[in-house]
Amino acid sequence: MVASIVLSGIAIGCIYALIGIAYNVMFSASRVFSFTAGTLGMAGGILGSLFILKLGLPVWAGFLLALAGGALLGVVTEILAVRPVLKSLDQHLYVLSTLALALMVQQFAAIEWGTDAQPFPRLLDLERTTFDQQFWLPMLACAVTIVGLEVLYRRTLLGHAFLAIAEDNYAARALGLPERNLRMASFAIAGVIGALSGFAGGQMLLAFFDNATQLTFYGFVPVALGGMGNNRGAVVAGLVLGLFQQAANFLVGGIFSSVAVFAAFILVLLARPEGLAGVALGRRV
């Protein structure tokens, strides 16, 4: 019993962390938090189920197509909802434009896919064990993403360019970096990461349109607590959140676990608005 709580807690935590990383990747490239982060997770689940169960494609094809769908969604987000409002960041129009796009995608899914949670295929033909694939797949996805991003950011020239954009947009442009293309690439990467979380976690979360709202909220908790733009913080906070939620689910029931998570989230942010691992903002005047 304890084992399954811990396993599902870590697995859910990994999904939240991945959504948090998707938030971060988009934020680093544009200084924008996008409401579409949870939608990417939803898309990963629904596209996976669509391609593999409904259309009968092989798992690997469904996997690649789901990730491609996520990347496409990321790029569309950048073009439709982020780029037009970047000029007036201080007006916070991005909150509204990304919210609008997220709602459009979610509603489209609700109408075309249906409002019931639909099954997600078992990806690997393995026997069910305690340490089942539905638990270790999200963990694997999270580990691969972390390592992949570290390699990208630290070892490759492209990654350095991403970091330069995140660190100082103006300076990076002055150096001649193709800021717009890098930003679109970042949103595509975020789309892949978001879709990966929904695909890898599909067996736990199912292919369900309302996952978008849930993941948008629970995926942001690690970002807020771990400090914005801080991927390691997001992973740690995501794991803590997942374990806490599953334990509370088991001990006091689902409702109170939600209330507890929400209350903890608010209290931590009230005490430290910059997050547990974040740095306070600079000048206002």
Partner: protein, 600 residues
């Protein structure tokens, strides 16, 4: 001097009355349509109209929060749910003895106000996206609680809702009840919008730092608005329950929340009639396109995206014909310092403003490194130095935006560095900013009136109900603001939207706003930047005249000529330290200053 003001007055009065007439017309049309609706519309439209009224009761309050204060509360359906269930549960008589429906509605309102504040608390510390997410989280949780707490809420099965006693028990009777609530909410929000509280809310939204410098206490004001919009949302919930006659959690979807939120934004920020039309539009729209009902939320979202990208001003902006008339070009700003006497009556000794051994560093950078500074009343004190020498930082320490690690700022008996930002205005310390901080969508005179916020005596509730003190405050503020505008030479532009002004004019608007608090000390941050030589000369005269009325002026400037012309005393900063201090003549011949800064 009086001749020109008396000349201006009749013109102003006629402008105001025609303005009032043009803005009253749509309201009269709407009211007439609403009251006579049963004469020409069938019963089904009655239900739709009732629904629009109920929605508006909520949106009216939410509008103050979203449209005026700029707080992105996207999960406000939570409070509708709360109000609906409280009303239904306490009148059903299942859990407790049944209450009268009106009492239940009042009880919902009180509970809504309390929860409004609870949801709102994070807004005091969290920025936009964070707050939006927390309201979304709150909405999710309320829904889960309603589903799970089935002994009280009936869970997924739901609970029956009350019918209001005669004459409001028939369909049209209930319509009129909701219409009364909607009309009262409209009236109250119009009152607030036109009061110093409404202007303060837009200042918090668009120019938070300036709002603080004007003495607006954001936490207190926001809490009042959260109380109000929480209460109206919960009352709307009670009416909504009665309209539905039986409520289940399915009635309170995220889509509904989105409808409310988008209604405000389609209407336009800082408007009342815009969001009202927006709400009616969103309520009625699906009825015209029956096959599209399933797609309605999708369409709302599309509409939101289009509004944000194409017409950020919303419906209100489309209706704002007044501000499309071209402004006169070649406008000149001609201040009339002779009016200052009526504006700046110093009733008591302002004391001196002193900085004592102030140290402030950001990480390894020493922005201010042991600065002593004394600013005397009735003098113009110049603060100059190369970029990065700590001039604006010094102003920010006085204004309270930075907390020095060591040292303190003192005015008379008050230690400034121990007080909150917005306490400065009460001590009559005013300031302007390097980049003008203005509410672009408000008129020039409204922007200036923001400066006088702390001089109002009426409370929020008095403004809400338009009691006499509200009118007295408004009259006095408007007159003083007009006087301040005449003083800086911008009275012609009083009714124009502030974002249509030129940069140089905005600088003078900021000075007018600062004059509204009858400053004992006036901090000007590069007021001459972007001004023409003639405007700089007039600005100089204005500064000198302000000082003659007993105000201490601290002037941060790069225009050395202006500084040497008008200052009584000049302090030169370099790398956060005082390089030299003295009269302009002494500074001009100071060897180090000349080599480090002035050149030649």
């Amino acid at each position: 001097m009086d001749m020109s003001t008396t000349e201006a007055r009749p013109a102003r009065a006629s402008v105001l009355s025609s303005l009032a007439a043009s803005s009253a017309l749509p309201w009269l049309v709407l009211a007439a349509l609403a009251v006579t609706l049963p004469l020409f519309a069938g019963g089904y439209w009655g239900v739709i109209a009732t629904r629009a009224c109920v929605y508006w009761v909520l949106v009216a309050g939410l509008n103050l929060l979203v449209g005026f204060a700029g707080q992105l509360a996207i999960g406000w359906v939570a409070l509708l749910t709360l109000g609906a269930y409280i009303t239904a549960v306490v009148t059903a008589g299942q859990v407790m003895p049944a209450l009268d429906p009106y009492l239940a509605l009042a009880l919902s309102g009180v509970a809504g106000a309390i929860f409004g504040v609870i949801v709102g608390l994070p807004a005091l510390r969290l920025r936009t996206f964070y707050f939006a997410i927390t309201t979304l989280g709150f909405a999710t949780i309320v829904r889960q609680i309603v589903l799970a707490w089935s002994t009280v809420t009936g869970g997924g099965v739901g609970v029956p809702a009350p019918v209001f006693p005669p004459p409001f028990d028939s369909q049209w009777g209930f319509y009129y009840l909701c219409l009364i609530f909607a009309a009262v909410c409209t009236w109250m929000t119009i009152n607030i919008a036109g009061s110093r509280f409404g202007r303060a809310l837009t200042a918090i939204r668009d120019a938070e730092v300036a709002a603080e410098a004007c003495g607006i206490a954001k936490p207190k004001l926001l809490m009042l608005v959260f109380l109000f919009s929480g209460a109206t949302a919960a009352v709307a919930g009670g009416l909504f329950a009665s309209l539905q006659s039986y409520i289940t959690p399915d009635a309170f979807t995220t889509e509904l929340s989105v409808l409310f939120f988008i209604g405000v934004l389609i209407g336009g920020r800082g408007s009342i009639i815009g969001p009202l039309l927006g709400t009616i539009l969103l309520t009625v729209l699906p009825e015209f396109a029956a096959p599209l009902v399933a797609w309605s939320t999708f369409l709302y979202a599309v509409l939101l995206l289009v509004i944000v990208l194409v017409i950020p001003g919303g419906i209100a902006d489309l209706l704002d014909f007044k501000n499309r008339r071209p402004l006169q070009t070649n406008r000149a700003i001609v201040p009339r310092p002779e009016l200052l006497g009526r504006l700046l009556a110093q009733d008591q000794d302002p004391g001196t403003l002193t900085l004592e051994q102030v140290h402030l560093h950001f990480g390894g950078v020493r922005a201010i490194d042991g600065l002593d500074l004394t600013i005397l009343p009735g003098q113009v004190h110049g603060l100059i130095g190369p970029n990065g020498s700590g001039k604006t930082t010094t102003l920010n320490v006085i204004s309270g935006y930075y907390m020095p690690q060591r040292g303190r700022a003192v005015l008379k008996d008050a230690v400034l560095t121990q007080l909150s930002h917005y306490a400065r205005a009460h001590l009559r310390i005013a300031r302007t900013f390097q980049t003008p901080r203005i509410v672009g969508e408000a008129s020039v005179i409204e922007n200036v009136m923001i400066g006088g916020t702390i001089d109002g005596v009426g409370t929020f509730v008095e403004s809400l109900l338009a009691l006499p003190r509200h009118w007295q405050d408004e009259k006095k503020l408007r007159e003083t603001a007009m006087l301040a505008l005449s003083t800086v030479g911008l009275e012609q532009l009083a009714q124009v939207r502030a974002d249509r002004l030129q940069h140089s004019e905005l600088r003078f608007v900021e000075i007018a706003r600062a004059l509204m608090i009858r400053p004992a000390f006036l901090l000007l941050d590069e007021p001459a930047a972007g001004l023409s030589p003639e405007e700089i000369r007039r600005l100089g005269i204005l500064c000198v005249e302000i000082a003659k009325h007993g105000t201490g002026v601290l002037l941060v400037e790069h225009h050395a000529d202006l500084i040497f012309d008008i200052c009584h005393h000049v302090t030169v900063l370099n790398l956060g330290k005082k390089l030299a201090a003295g009269t302009p003549a002494e500074i001009r011949s100071h060897r180090e200053v000349v080599s480090a800064y002035l050149g030649g």
